[in-house]
């Protein structure tokens, strides 16, 4: 089988697995978040936590609970990072400095998993297990909760803005969805070679006579939720390129599947909860169009290998592993940047210029192709609201989506949501290249240096976490600035989405009339994709022209 056929079949396998699994998983998640019954273990948990899982919350108190949980998480993680040298299983690591600990705490709480530290030497096992891996679960569960709350906004009518109970949504997402799936996935990964022990570094004498270190740790248990929860924070510095995190092409496909499976199943959950499966299919189709385009373009770019170094070497193999090669690296890169995961199995800084550009644009789309766990669905539903609004303007009718009128108040929230991420990216990157402290971190001058900075702020604002790692980011300036951008990039959109959910839930439902734009037909899918691309294009083309485009044309 030649390289290109193998690449296509490899993509086909991932698609097939997603097609098979998204229905049962999507339906199951819809049942999880609509069931009125608590499991016995959940009820016991609620008693210890002293929260009432049956109280319906208005959107504002739902948000307050979410923010309270986020604040508690940041405090605890910051504390763990600052005191990790005192904890058991610390392997002799030093405590993180204040800026680094702040950056790491915010990074993992916001589902970004940007890492300004190196896993194998700067994070003890207990910080990894009880701090970072816990946030891998609960930050994903938080994303799921927000998505479900927005879907309830569409599904309900005439409440006074009640969108569910945050604590129940959080606990159910963990107990009934993420934990069982992660446990199975972790053991599967161990079977394929991912390590899982509590040991530290062991020195051995290598075959040729030197010494070499065998690192250890609870890697598989973290790897599973890192992908499944679209988190992306590697146990090791090399992330999913490290053979102990991702040992074979087969484990590579398992990890790609894990990071795509919940985002691609949630449209089904949405369709199920609003009582119209066609609506879910339309959203999934739009996500699929964007993801397949990104995979196709990135695979082409890496196999065609344009650029000075790939041409000289004969292939774009810098920063790639032999077992994956160009195709499996491109598939991973497109999936990880499309889902806000940010794990990498190849070094994105060394991708070809068009390949790195696709990865960047994938994040600039706002992480909706198919987006992070929960975040992808709510991001796409916001874009769907914008699309019916624009379509309504074109034909002069009151725009509505699923029987909800999109009025001044709703579209204001949507507009603020759309503007938040570009504002953070452009202001942040602008400041970084203007200030000496920001310029100091740039590894390469010229367009590639701008791409490095732009990629960093895009990754932070979209809670992705992948990096053009040539940029030196373990400095107080980048730690602090990127921490702020991650925090605002996560919680400002969430606040706006929950406000929108409350607004929708308090509306009545208008029956579809002749002037209603059907939102399940291919034409709407096309419109939705176009709006997504155009909004991003108009916002970012100037800076893209100065960075990756200039580099590709050089």
């Amino acid at each position: 089988m030649n390289e290109i056929t193998a690449a296509v079949v490899q993509i086909g396998l991932v698609v097939l697995l997603l097609v098979l699994v998204h229905r049962p998983l999507g339906d199951y998640m819809a049942r999880v978040f609509t069931s009125r019954r608590h499991l016995a273990v959940e009820r016991a948990g609620y008693r210890v936590m002293r929260v009432d899982p049956d109280a319906e919350q208005r959107w504002s108190s739902y948000l307050l609970s979410l923010l309270g949980f986020g604040a508690a998480s940041i405090l605890v993680l910051y504390g763990l990072a600052r005191t990790q040298h005192l904890l058991p299983l610390s392997l002799g690591v030093s405590p993180m400095d204040p800026a680094g600990a702040w950056n790491t705490a915010v990074s993992f709480v916001t589902n970004t998993n940007w890492q300004s530290y190196s896993g194998e030497t700067e994070a003890g096992h207990l910080l990894q297990m009880a701090g970072l891996a816990v946030q891998n679960f609960v930050s994903a569960a938080t994303g799921l909760a927000v998505a479900v709350a927005l879907v309830r906004g569409f599904a309900r009518s005439g409440t006074d803005g009640r969108v569910g109970n945050f604590w129940a949504d959080l606990v159910r997402a963990v107990v009934r969805v993420l934990l069982p799936a992660a446990a199975v996935a972790a053991l599967l990964l161990v079977a394929l070679g991912v390590v899982q022990n509590l040991g530290g570094h062991v020195e051995v004498t290598s075959l040729a006579g030197g010494t070499t270190v065998m690192p250890g740790g609870p890697v598989a248990s973290q790897e599973a939720i890192k992908e499944l929860g679209t988190n992306g924070g590697g146990f090791f510095n090399a992330n999913s390129a490290h053979p102990f995190e991702n040992p074979t092409p087969l484990s590579n496909v398992v990890e790609i599947f894990l990071l795509l499976v919940i985002p691609f199943s949630l449209p089904r959950t949405f369709g199920r909860m609003v009582g119209d499966l066609r609506q879910g299919r339309a959203v999934a189709a739009a996500m699929a169009v964007l993801w397949v385009s990104a995979v196709g373009l990135l695979t082409w770019a890496e196999l065609a290998a344009p650029g000075a170094v790939p041409t000289a070497a004969g292939a774009a193999m810098e920063g790639k592993e032999v077992r994956f090669g160009e195709a499996a690296s491109a598939l991973f890169a497109a999936s990880t940047t499309g889902t806000s995961t940010g794990a990498v199995n190849a070094m994105h800084d060394s991708l070809t210029a068009p390949g790195g550009g696709v990865a960047l644009v994938n994040m600039l789309l706002g992480e909706v192709a198919p987006g992070g766990v929960g975040a992808g669905l709510y991001g796409f539903l916001v874009l769907a609201v914008l699309t019916v609004f624009l379509a309504g303007l074109m034909v002069g009718r009151t725009p509505e989506l699923l029987g909800k009128k999109i009025g001044r108040h709703e579209i204001t929230l949507v507009a603020l949501y759309i503007l938040t991420m570009p504002a953070l990216v452009l202001v942040g990157a602008g400041l970084a290249i203007a200030l000496p402290a920001g310029q100091a971190g740039i590894q390469e001058g010229g367009p590639h240096g701008l791409s490095e900075v732009l990629y960093a702020f895009t990754s932070a604002a979209n809670n992705n976490g992948s990096a053009f790692a040539g940029l030196t980011v373990a400095t107080p300036f980048y730690d602090t600035a990127l921490g702020l951008v991650m925090l605002l990039g996560r919680f400002v959109p969430i606040a706006l989405v929950l406000a929108l959910a409350g607004r929708l839930a308090s509306q009545g439902t208008v029956p579809a009339g002749e002037g209603t734009l059907p939102t399940h037909r291919p034409i709407f899918v096309g419109l939705l994709v176009a709006v997504t691309v155009v909004v991003v294009g108009l916002t970012f083309i100037p800076v893209l022209a100065l960075g990756p485009i200039a580099e590709a044309l050089a």
Partner: protein, 221 residues
């Protein structure tokens, strides 16, 4: 759906800060986080570790191998491990098949995994590529144009255990000469250790350098 009770149990009177809703929610968040940390941060990884250590001890402990090629379940047991079947090592000298270039620390440093992170137009990287090409071309006596890409570029992890079949075959003559072995025997050894794509279409064909050198060592110590 219409009850308006707060979702957090009302605090006992007199607790500091209890009047502020955000503080109250943060305290609730701390309690929830504490319970979830016990389940997700302690019980879950320990349970996975326990099952993995019982059912899959070799994989769970790093796929360690001994000098005779046998599998080991611990690095510091009675038989010393010489490495992991999954991690690349440094091999200098003409008698060894070499690994790919590594940007991990000073090379193949498993405490500093990572790539060069140099971009596709980097002049530094271009210089590295030409340096490696000259070195391989000299050591293996092949034309500079014949050196495959994986021999000229650093891997993502710096611990890539594999090289391409082309790079392995290119090294056969040098290794056979250095060990006084028949070239066709070494070539046959390489061919027998070429791994195809997983399931026929996943990833790329490859040769594990440690396994190859171990087999070589067994053939001609």
């Amino acid at each position: 759906m219409t009850t308006a009770t707060p979702a957090v149990t009302a605090p006992r009177r007199g607790r500091p800060g209890a009047a502020l809703p955000f503080v109250r929610q943060t305290l609730a968040g701390l309690r929830v986080l504490l319970v979830l940390t016990v389940v997700l941060g302690v019980l879950y990884p320990l349970a996975v570790t326990g099952v993995a250590q019982v059912l899959l001890p070799w994989q769970a402990n790093g796929s360690l191998v001994a000098a005779d090629g046998s599998y080991l379940e611990q690095a510091d047991g009675p038989t010393p491990a010489i490495g992991s079947a999954l991690l690349g090592q440094r091999f200098d000298g003409d008698e060894w098949f070499r690994s790919r270039p590594s940007a991990a620390g000073d090379g193949w440093d498993a405490t500093a995994s990572g790539g060069s992170n140099l971009g596709p137009e980097s002049q530094d990287l271009l210089a590295d590529v030409e340096l490696r090409r000259a070195e391989v071309s000299r050591a293996d006596g092949v034309a500079p144009g014949e050196v495959p890409a994986d021999a000229l570029t650093a891997s993502a992890s710096g611990l890539d255990p594999h090289i391409s079949p082309a790079y392995a075959r290119l090294q056969v003559a040098r290794v056979a000469a250095a060990r006084g072995l028949d070239e066709s025997a070494v070539a046959g050894l390489v061919d027998s250790l070429v791994e195809g794509r997983d399931l026929g279409f996943l990833g790329e064909p490859r040769v594990n350098v440690l396994r190859l050198n171990l087999a070589l060592q067994t053939m001609a110590p």
